[in-house]
């Protein structure tokens, strides 16, 4: 009888249920809905493969699909190649200086892609500083820097490089720094030790960086639209045209389905090689077979590279004699950081121009564009809406994510791995797919052109970052402290208020800030769900940049950059593990 009455102790994982339900309702469900829509006939609703026949049969779309994958692959390649030495340099800095330097990489990461691409539009334009410099140097007809494949790749790499760097950095800082000296005492030169020890150990970071950059690049539409020619049209742009101009949801769904399939395939390949748990950064070690083909290939490759570069380095050392090349890496890293940060900061002087056009350097100082921004009802209402939606998003996201993180941190259930992946899923679904599938769902239930609709979409978008911060916070929280409080006589609420809460407060506030930031500069969802009626600040900027590039847009960008910088620094300051 007592057994029947005793309450069965539930696993803590049930705390993740609200968040999982939310993501099922607003991410997985709509995506499946979109998928099924793509197999229908737009008029009759009957099963049809017409959309796919069109996507893969009509020349223009096959070309778009082809160039989308090509651009995404090239962007990924550039991000990894350029980002690896930067991440490597950061990982090698003493902890304090590394945090400072990492801030400089993270700042452009949190500055919206829209602002960064817009900056390039201005800087590389006919009246921009680059063209101006070339003219001053005597180049008669400066080359056209905009609207070609090269500038699209450059700007996309620039936008996504910080994502690649921080993904690799998180793995590199986890590599035991005593391993390379150990390899040295065993007879490996610095070059050989790098290729045989450091490089293989950093590969999980390279892989997750590649995964995240590739998937983000697949769904990109800002850069091709702003800086590309029609030849650089990507699937994201095509989807937008189908939804907003052609009103052809079925075809948009089919294109989205291709993106989903590509993202899924990428994840499957990644999982097969590295295991998805590696994404959490220090997740459970993957049980690998020592005889796995991929591992043997990787080790073999690392041996070959070690032999080649070891030999080259010895030859170079003999050629160069006493010349040291140690300054090369810091010089490279500093140059990269400058290129990352400068476009963001270049907006500031341009916003204070007295001229009617944007030019760099500005001819005179004036606050007129800020005045125009502050007195324009359109800009003011967009700004206020962004704040409102951002704050609401932050609280909803953090509530769901805190519960889930609490559950996962304390759960022994085998389902917790699946729950973890669920909360990370928004990161590996191109945001344009999230937006289109929500648009399709919200059109049925009347949430299109509502602030609530945008907020729901932003909550999906902000979930992974809030969840990761909170999970790290709660996993770092020593449960024995709560137990100690209990043995000292504190009941559960008092334990939570007096012990748990003060210890996790930094993580909570950090998660709130980063969830807010994720919403504050989100464009894709805002564009689809907000429609023309409910403009957020990024949406207003997007509309403006497509109509006319005016200094008031630069002033708005500066407002965004300032808000983002302040909040970002505050969020970084409060992050767990920062101390």
């Amino acid at each position: 009888m007592s057994a029947a009455l005793a309450p069965r102790r539930r696993d803590a994982l049930w705390l993740a249920v609200p968040g999982v339900l939310f993501l099922v309702a607003f991410l997985v469900g709509p995506a499946l809905g979109l998928l099924s829509l793509s197999f229908t006939d737009g008029d009759t609703g009957a099963f049809s493969l017409a959309a796919y026949r069109r996507a893969f049969g009509v020349g223009v779309y096959t070309r778009i699909i082809g160039s989308t994958f090509m651009i995404a692959l090239q962007t990924m390649g550039f991000c990894l190649l350029l980002g690896y030495p930067l991440a490597y340099w950061l990982a090698g800095l003493p902890a304090r200086r590394r945090r400072m330097a990492t801030l400089l990489v993270l700042l452009p990461f949190w500055t919206s892609a829209l602002v960064k691409n817009f900056a390039w539009l201005v800087l590389l334009g006919r009246t921009g500083i680059v063209a101006g410099t070339l003219q001053a140097l005597g180049v008669e007809a400066p080359p056209d820097l905009l609207f070609n494949r090269g500038v699209v790749l450059f700007a996309m790499t620039h936008s996504l490089l910080p994502l690649a760097v921080i993904s690799m950095l998180s793995v590199m800082t986890g590599i035991d720094e005593r391993l390379r000296p150990a390899a040295g005492t065993l007879g490996a030169s610095r070059v050989v030790a790098f290729w045989r020890v450091y490089m293989p150990l950093s590969m999980p970071g390279v892989a997750s960086a590649g995964l995240l950059v590739f998937i983000a690049a697949l769904g990109y539409f800002i850069t091709p639209a702003l800086l590309g020619s029609p030849r650089e049209t990507m699937m994201g742009n095509a989807i937008i045209i189908q939804v907003q101009q052609m009103d052809n949801m079925v075809f948009a769904a089919a294109l989205s389905a291709v993106l989903i399939a590509a993202a899924l395939l990428t994840c499957v390949v990644y999982d097969a090689i590295f295991g998805l748990s590696g994404m959490s950064g220090g997740g459970g070690a993957v049980r690998r077979s020592p005889h796995g083909l991929v591992r043997r290939l990787g080790l073999g490759l690392s041996r070959v590279l070690a032999a080649v570069f070891g030999g080259l380095a010895e030859g170079a050392a003999r050629l160069l004699g006493g010349h040291r090349l140690g300054w090369l890496l810091p010089a490279y890293a500093c140059a990269m950081v400058v290129v990352l940060v400068v476009p963001v900061l270049s907006m500031v002087p341009m916003a204070f121009t007295s001229s009617n056009f944007m030019s760099f350097p500005p001819p005179g100082f004036s606050l007129r564009w800020f005045e125009e921004y502050a007195t324009s009802p359109v800009w003011v209402s967009a700004t206020l809406r962004s704040f409102g939606i951002g704050i609401a998003t932050a609280f909803v996201t953090v509530t769901l994510a805190t519960l889930a993180a609490l559950g996962l941190a304390r759960s022994g259930s085998r389902l917790s791995g699946a729950a973890f992946l669920m909360f990370m899923t928004p990161m590996v679904v191109p945001s344009i797919v999230v937006a289109v599938s929500l648009f399709q769902l919200f059109a049925k239930i009347g949430l299109v052109a509502t602030d609530l609709g945008i907020m729901i979409g932003h909550t999906v978008h902000a979930m992974p970052i809030a969840f990761v911060i909170l999970l790290a916070t709660l996993k770092g929280h020593d449960l024995r402290l709560d137990q100690a409080a209990a043995t000292l006589g504190a009941n559960r609420p008092r334990t939570f208020l007096r012990v748990t809460m003060p210890l996790i407060r930094g993580g909570l506030v950090g998660a709130l800030i980063f969830a807010f930031l994720a919403s504050f500069e989100e464009l894709t969802v805002a564009m689809f769900i907000g429609g023309g009626l409910r403009s957020t600040l990024p949406k207003q900027m997007w509309d403006d940049v497509n109509l006319q590039v005016s200094p008031v847009l630069v002033a708005a960008s500066v407002v965004v950059v300032v808000i983002v910088t302040v909040l970002f620094l505050l969020g970084e300051y409060l992050r767990p593990g920062r101390r």
Partner: protein, 365 residues
Amino acid sequence: MNADTGSTVTASVNQGRPAKLSARGIAKRYGMVDALLPIDLDVAPGEFLTVLGPSGSGKTTLLQLIAGLIEPSAGALFIDGRDETHTPAHKRGVGVVFQSYALFPHMTVRENVCFPLQMRHIPRAELQRRVAATLEMVGLGALQDRFPGELSGGQQQRVALARCFVYQPALILMDEPLGALDRKLRETMQIEIKRLHRDTGATIIFVTHDQDEALALSDRICLMNHGRIEQLGEPQDIYERPKTLFAADFIGISNVMRGRVGPGGMLETADGALPLPAGAPCPAAGQTAALVIRPEHIELLPPDGTALRGRISESVYAGSEFRLLVTLDSGTTLVARRSPGHAELRIGDEVALGWAADRARLLPA
């Protein structure tokens, strides 16, 4: 004082054989901090030298200098008579077993052990043979395809040893290699390391902060403190004839009675005049000094009128013996040992203390 400590020992150890390792005035400074003051050290071929000291005493710095992991600020280092002061680590051929083992987590046990041989371009057949033999030697033949993360602490330690011994370096450095193991396993591994030392004839420099480990393993102990060599000598020598109060205190338990040398070869202390050991050079009257007596040399006697007296204040049972704390009238507490066979003494019992005068050591205080 250190310089002459070093040189006297050098002379006694060399005995005509060239030193495996010679450090001459080697020192390391980090900014304003002296991690290691200039020291001289000679290690004979095949010797097992323990570098013992508290944390921050400079012992790990010394080890890193010998391994070539850091550059010295001053001085020179000779291995087999060759100047290796500025040779990079990977060309030095010195074996190092790291504190945390530093096993490569992406390589299996076997691949870890192969690594140093591959660096030396050992032919395949020879490599296979030596790896198999070394893994057998440390008893890891069955685990060679495991990753380090799948092994216990003791097994990881064995891999680290195998990875070092497989290329037969003539000089091996070990940085607190047993620090992470529990007591039982530590004792097993101590025996293992002694056996490897005997079988291979390698010269081993072993860093530890554990005095029992140092006493158990070493041919000689190099005791370090504040970046200097405090004393260098055979374990028994350091234990029985410490040269400084630090040495007496760091190795084993010591009872220290401080006082001032009085007339007539006595030390005036708060607990009365105590006899000085005969034969030792006697400092001039009026100088401060300390008498050091090991617990096993203190005898507990029934109280009588004349001797040093105290009360038992604590009794600690340690299996093979009782450790008794005796508080003297002045408040000083001394430790004495007593085997369980003796008549039982209870807390509060009054006892007289005595020791053979030549068992005590007089040290400058």
